[in-house]
C-alpha cells in the first residue's frame, strides 16, 4: 500500500506535465485543471491501496479516460447548442460548425509577462502538438514525454504495440515537418534529420 507521502511525491513529479498534456488535448486551461484534479482524486480514492510503482500507469489511464469523458460531454453540449441555435434563426454563421471551434481557447498573448516567459520555439512546438490527431498526440506524449515503453503505452491506449509504434512514428514525422515549415532547427538537431523526412 502506498503512503500519503509517496502519493504526494508522485503527484508533485507529474502534475505539471499532466496539466500541460491535458491542456494540449482539450485546448482549455480551466478544463485541463479540472480534469487533472479529477484524475488525482480518482487515483487516491480508487487506487490508494495500490503500491506506488503502479501509480504512473494508473494515473495515465485515469487521465486519458477523464479526457475522453470531457470530450463526450463537450460533444453532447455542442449538439444541444447546435440544435438550439438552429431554432434561433438563420444567422449567417449558424451553418456547419466545427465542435473544436466552439471551445474557448485561452489566448494570453496580451500579457507581457507571459510573452517574456514564453519561448517562441516552445510555442511553435506546442502549436504543432495541438495540431496532431488525438491518437498520435496521445501516443507521442505517453511514449516520449512520459517515457513509457511501447507495451505500457499500448495498454493505456487500448491498442496493439504495432499501432503505438505507427502513431508515434507519424507523430514525430508530422512534428518534424511542421517545425521545418517554421524554419526551425533550434532543437539542436541537424538539418539532415529534417531533410530525411
Amino acid at each position: 500500500m502506498a503512503t500519503p507521502k509517496e502519493l504526494s511525491d508522485f503527484l508533485i513529479a507529474i502534475e505539471r506535465r499532466a496539466f500541460k498534456q491535458t491542456a494540449y488535448a482539450v485546448r482549455d486551461d480551466h478544463a485541463a485543471l479540472d480534469i487533472v484534479q479529477d484524475a488525482m482524486m480518482k487515483l487516491a480514492e480508487k487506487y490508494g491501496e495500490r503500491p506506488a510503482t503502479e501509480f504512473p500507469m494508473l494515473f495515465q489511464r485515469i487521465l486519458q479516460n477523464t479526457m475522453r469523458d470531457f470530450w463526450r460531454r463537450q460533444k453532447v453540449r455542442n449538439l444541444w447548442t447546435t440544435l438550439l441555435s438552429s431554432f434561433g434563426g438563420n444567422d449567417a454563421d449558424s451553418e456547419e460548425r466545427d465542435p473544436l471551434e466552439t471551445i474557448d481557447v485561452e489566448d494570453d498573448s496580451d500579457e507581457p509577462s507571459a510573452q517574456l516567459a514564453r519561448s517562441q520555439t516552445i510555442q511553435l512546438i506546442e502549436n504543432a502538438l495541438q495540431k496532431l490527431p488525438a491518437r498520435q498526440r496521445e501516443a507521442f506524449v505517453l511514449r516520449y514525454w512520459e517515457e513509457m515503453d511501447v507495451a505500457e503505452t499500448a495498454k493505456i491506449m487500448g491498442c496493439s504495440d504495432g499501432s503505438v509504434k505507427t502513431h508515434c512514428s507519424r507523430a514525430v514525422h508530422a512534428l518534424a515537418l511542421e517545425l521545418k515549415k517554421q524554419g526551425l532547427d533550434k532543437l539542436g538537431l541537424s538539418n539532415a534529420v529534417f531533410d530525411k523526412k
Partner: protein, 155 residues
C-alpha cells in the same frame, strides 16, 4: 574488367555511406527526445494560479488518502481488540459479507443448544428412575431378574 572494378568501388562507398546514416527509428527518438525536453522545460513555467490550483488538487488527494488510511488503521485496532465487533461492525456489513459463515455459526449454536437440552433431560430421567427404584416396595434386584417380568405378565 575495369568497369567491374569501378562498380565494386562504388558499391563499397555506398555501403559505407549507408552504414553511417542513422536509422529512422534513432532519428525519431532523437527528435522526440528534443521536443520532450523543451516541453518539460515549458511545463515548469506555469502561471502562479495554475500552480496553486494543481497544488490544492494534490493536497486534496493526499488528504483523502491520509484520512482513508487513518480510518483503516482505526478499524484494524477495533478488530484486534474484539472479533465480535469486527464481525458485526460497519452497521452489520461484515455480517452480510460472511453470510455463509454466519449461517453455519447459527446452525452450530442451535445444534449445541439442542444437545444440551437433550443431555439435561436424560439426566433428569435417570434421577427419576433411581428415585422410583429406591422408593418401590420391591427390591431393585427384582427388576433385574428375567423371570420377574414373565411372572408379572402371566399374572
Amino acid at each position: 574488367m575495369n568497369m567491374h572494378k569501378d562498380n565494386m568501388t562504388n558499391r563499397k562507398n555506398t555501403d559505407l555511406i549507408d552504414d553511417n546514416v542513422i536509422p529512422d527509428s534513432q532519428m525519431e527518438e532523437q527528435i522526440a527526445r528534443g521536443i520532450s525536453d523543451l516541453l518539460n522545460n515549458r511545463a515548469q513555467h506555469l502561471k502562479p494560479e495554475q500552480a496553486q490550483r494543481l497544488s490544492a488538487a494534490r493536497n486534496a488527494a493526499v488528504n483523502y488518502l491520509t484520512e482513508q488510511q487513518a480510518q483503516y488503521s482505526t478499524d484494524n485496532q477495533i478488530a484486534g481488540h474484539s472479533h465480535v465487533l469486527r464481525w458485526f461492525g460497519h452497521a452489520g456489513q461484515n455480517f452480510e459479507q460472511h453470510r455463509v459463515a454466519s449461517a453455519a455459526l447459527l446452525v452450530a449454536v442451535m445444534l449445541l443448544t439442542f444437545f444440551a437440552v437433550q443431555q439435561l433431560g436424560s439426566t433428569n430421567n435417570l434421577e427419576n428412575s433411581d428415585a422410583f427404584l429406591l422408593a418401590s416396595d420391591l427390591p431393585p434386584e427384582a427388576y433385574a431378574d428375567k423371570g420377574f417380568d414373565a411372572w408379572i405378565e402371566s399374572n
